[in-house]
Symmetry: C2
Subunit: 610 residues, 2 copies
């Protein structure tokens, strides 16, 4: 099975087309400007010296911030190479490449921080993100080459990858064996595919095989943040079955493992990634697709530990899980479990990471913002408003590079089947039985559940349409979540998933969500905000048997839901006999992803029910 | 108004008489044995030297542990001086006194830790509990003198108090000005009352006046645990209006302030303690009478921040609040607010600190024990089982000394009125218009709301009976929570408060308790445990309109309540459409104070309601 990459998919309007327009017109420039202001681009000049402003001193992960921005820009160039912004984007990227070429070490090494601040200490500190930065630079170089045909950046990164291969695999001369923050494994597999050079795949294989199976890395285990499970080196990767530790690192690793399994068919790796995907998505994932329950370590904790107000749920972690799901979809894509998770992330936990205006970002995406008086000094709660840039600003450029790739999650193919995994108005070019074919998808998803598919191709084929997990309608001939339709040239298929407000409950082991419900509208998870419903949202109970009315909010481009609810009368005393009186109220819901766009406000996804 | 001290009140059976029997027969010996085993008694020999077992090295607060045990023993001796255990208790106490006399410094100084380990560093470290230990030793010496007439201990402690007076007040030669942990202020006021020597009162006044109003103490502000508000020296005490910082220290301070206000009538101090009592009990107190919402600093946080599973609610803090309430009751005892709080603590947050068998203790008394899978490694949750002794073992001896004093909270008098503040079968000797009188109280409170009072005395008098705040019956002639009855010799009054199961709600600002209720039976707060009701207690909803049936559990000596409840059907999937099916169940409740006596179990006080 094959993923149809984003550049073969043209979005023709709707939710994601609007998002991509925002991403290109606003986000890309906003992230660039913030990174320029904060010294991240200038860091590539490697000219900072002691005595210069401390806030301009390169940080060990700044290279990755810029690299992800370049990757984002390259994808937009690829999507519309003739667009007005292209020359300016190329100019900005070329300036970075000039700096890398000029400042890299003679043997090909490049890292702003180490070259500028500690040139003799490279590859000595496992926790310092060098290989993570290298991975992102490699991915950026591939994207830029693919978008423009310009290979200077790619060649610089091949030199760097060759150096890493020599130092880590051939000589084993670094102080550690595998990266403290995974990511380069994905990049090396991509580099091998793009260049056709097997050695890069072998280096990825080396990093995977050595993880949890070497002596050197153990020496870097010092605290909570570097203990083996935190960095997924508690066990050799093929023996891992539970998602542990830092959630972003974990899902980057699992993505690489899934890519490896796809390429090699290695049964041990396949078994591991299947178990890990099951563990993440069936035991440790929020209803929004967010992952990571613990801000201490930004980490997975235990099965069913999914606190709402103290959720960590980093935007990057949701995106990393999307990458993992996409890699799994290609290997096991006749099962809708992977596309269902992707959908959950796309409409919720990843989209929430960016403001409606495209300029501000969340690091953590909580599922509840308690009233301000319930967040005392000294206890950790996620920020309740998005910021334009932050010290550890990994999420904004990750969102920036994620958005242009979204079309790439919609379709997979096998020899004679086009799998329609995600719903978005689009035109996709595929090969069916070695012949060109086109599928046209028309929909106003997620605000309407109707999807119309038209097939054009010489050869007869099958369209496999994912029946979303939230859909409660019956479709004949559904296997593992896909309904199969034979098609020939000109065939159209019309399907209606019946998008409507629905209440969702959680498994009885999710302690925080017991006796609560979340409202959904198709794939979109909803929330209440105090700005609409008054303070103390926890005092509202929704009537599951009441009316749920929908309306389209033209200004914000989303459906709102109004539900029947109740507020019990409370006393002014601290404690008093429970009042029997409940006031009937109307409760307004907006999509979760749109929360915190109207100033400070309490918010709840999981709410009390009558 | 006057508090009738515990030694004027004879308990004649019932809840507190049983508790005192347990306290004398089991707890007193158990605490002694654990303190003997852990080296706390032997520390008074001051013979530990480098190289001796590290766990036997005296700790800076060990003196206070032993002192509180002595105080407890002395109260039991006072209550029954002819009891069988008295000679052995006296022998144990005399051994401690021998050691103090032998090992104290020439100028009267005594502290096991400093004398043994750092003799030249005394009074240099504000955080090191020296004055706190001194305070407890002084209280123990007073109690022992009052119980036995033996004054050797008292005289040693007078010498020590004289030294403290010279060093802190006269010479100002210590490194700090006021104690890092308050307590000595209470002890000095008691010492002044007991000995009639005004200088001890003046030293207490000095410590109160200088708190938050001196330069030296500021130098000890280094971290979260020593910041000014944590130790109540953010403001001069008369300007304090909000309860802040370490909850035990705070309430010991407020108790001393209330005692001071009672003795002097100082209007600034009176205004402060009224505001502080109001703030603690109307904004920052759990329904159990527990206080302190934050284990980080063992501290008060903000108004209405009362997390259940992460409650700190130290047993000592509940007891300290009882002391504060008792001091307020004497000053403002024609208002039942103080006795209501005392009752809440007596039947709930203090009693819960000790196991039903009297041998094990809680430091923290949470209002919820989540399922074990919802308590991931690395996040703080209180212990879910009581221990026989702990490293910082302040609570067990505090419980031990609190129990024998309970009779002392029942009655206050003014010239011609006996206030019946607490309900317990008892005989109390009072003075009415300078003439002896006796009140007999007969009741099976809290399991039955009937109270019979009989007055014997030459002079006519008034009985003022507190109408408990939980009571929903109307009583004519009630003023500020007390119903007044004129009585003459032989008069009897029978009253029935109508104890019954009731659901309580919290103020709308208590975010954790919104849409929840707590079950009470008279003054007793109830809880559900998984051992009775199965796992995932959060999945249970109680029907407020359902039946509440009571039964008396003979084995444990308490009333249990069975209520109608519901459990919604849940899916095995992580998320699924909310089931409409609810199973009707019976839910069993036991008194909160009895939780965690049957092994590890989930527990909830605040529960979901239908």
């Amino acid at each position: 099975m094959k993923n149809i990459t984003f550049d073969n998919v043209t979005l023709n309007g709707g939710f994601f087309a609007d998002l991509q327009r925002l991403g290109r017109e606003v986000t890309l420039g906003a992230v660039y400007d913030r990174f320029k202001e904060t010294g991240r681009f200038d860091a590539f000049t490697c000219s900072w010296r002691e005595g210069d402003p401390e806030n301009m001193k390169p940080h060990v992960f700044w290279d990755s911030d810029v690299a992800k921005w370049i990757e984002a820009a390259a994808y937009y160039i690829k999507l519309a190479p003739d667009a007005e912004d292209v020359p300016s984007l190329i100019e900005k990227i070329e300036e970075v490449i000039d700096n890398i070429e000029k400042n890299r070490m003679a043997d090909g090494y490049f890292n702003c921080y180490y070259i500028t601040c500690e040139p003799n200490a490279r590859f000595t500190e496992r926790g310092n993100h060098e290989l993570y930065c290298a991975g992102h630079l490699i991915e950026a170089a591939i994207a830029y080459s693919a978008a423009t045909g310009r290979d200077r950046f790619l060649n610089l990164m091949k030199d760097y990858a060759d150096l890493i291969d020599r130092i880590f695999r051939v000589e084993d001369s670094a102080k550690f064996t595998t990266p403290g923050h995974e990511e380069i494994e994905i990049a090396l597999i991509k580099l091998s595919r793009y260049t056709g050079e097997k050695k890069y795949f072998e280096l990825a294989e080396f990093f995977l095989d050595k993880r949890g199976a070497n002596e050197k890395d153990a020496e870097f285990c010092r605290d909570w943040w570097s203990k083996p499970a935190q960095l997924q080196n508690h066990l050799p990767v093929r023996e891992q079955r539970e998602a542990v530790g830092h959630a972003v690192r974990a899902c980057y690793l699992y993505t690489a493992m899934a890519e490896y399994a796809y390429e090699t068919g290695d049964p041990g790796m396949a078994e591991a990634v299947k178990a890990l995907f099951d563990n993440v998505t069936n035991k440790r994932m929020y209803v929004t697709g967010g992952i990571g329950s613990n801000s201490n370590g930004e980490a997975f904790t235990t099965d069913y530990d999914l606190p709402n107000a103290r959720a960590y749920t980093e935007t990057c972690a949701a995106i990393a899980l999307a990458f993992f799901a996409s890699a799994m979809q290609r290997s096991y894509g006749n099962d809708s479990a992977y596309a269902d998770v992707l959908e959950r992330i796309l409409f919720n936990g990843a989209r929430s990471g960016m403001s409606l205006d495209g300029e501000a970002f969340f690091y953590e995406n909580p599922l509840e913002i308690p009233p301000k008086w319930a967040k005392p000094e000294g206890s950790h709660f996620p920020k309740s408003q998005r910021s334009k840039v932050f010290g550890c600003s990994c999420c904004p450029p990750n969102v920036a590079r994620f958005i242009p790739q979204i079309g790439g999650y919609a379709y997979t193919t096998d020899q004679m089947t086009v799998y329609i995994n995600q719903f978005m108005s689009s035109t996709v070019h595929v090969r069916i039985l070695n012949s060109d074919a086109v599928v046209e998808q028309e929909t106003n998803y997620p605000w309407d559940g109707k999807v119309k598919l038209t097939y054009h191709g010489e050869r007869d084929a099958r369209l496999a349409v994912r029946i979303p997990s939230w859909c409660d309608k019956y479709f004949a001939g559904t296997v593992k979540g896909y309904a199969y339709f034979p098609v020939s040239d000109g065939s159209t298929i019309e399907i209606d998933f019946g998008v409507k407000p629905m209440l969702i409950g959680a498994n009885a082991k999710v302690n925080e969500d017991l006796c609560k419900a979340a409202l959904t509208f198709g794939p979109v998870v909803y929330c209440m905000e105090a700005v609409d419903n008054g303070e103390s949202l926890g005092g509202i109970r929704i009537d599951p048997k009441g009316k749920f009315e929908t309306a389209f909010d033209e200004e914000n481009g989303y459906v709102t839901v109004t539900a029947d609810g109740y507020r019990r009368k409370t006393s002014t005393a601290l404690y008093a006999p429970l009042s029997a009186e409940e006031e009937k109220i109307k409760v307004k819901f907006i999509p979760y992803y749109a929360f915190a766009n109207r100033g400070e406000s309490e918010m709840q996804v999981w709410m009390n029910i009558k």
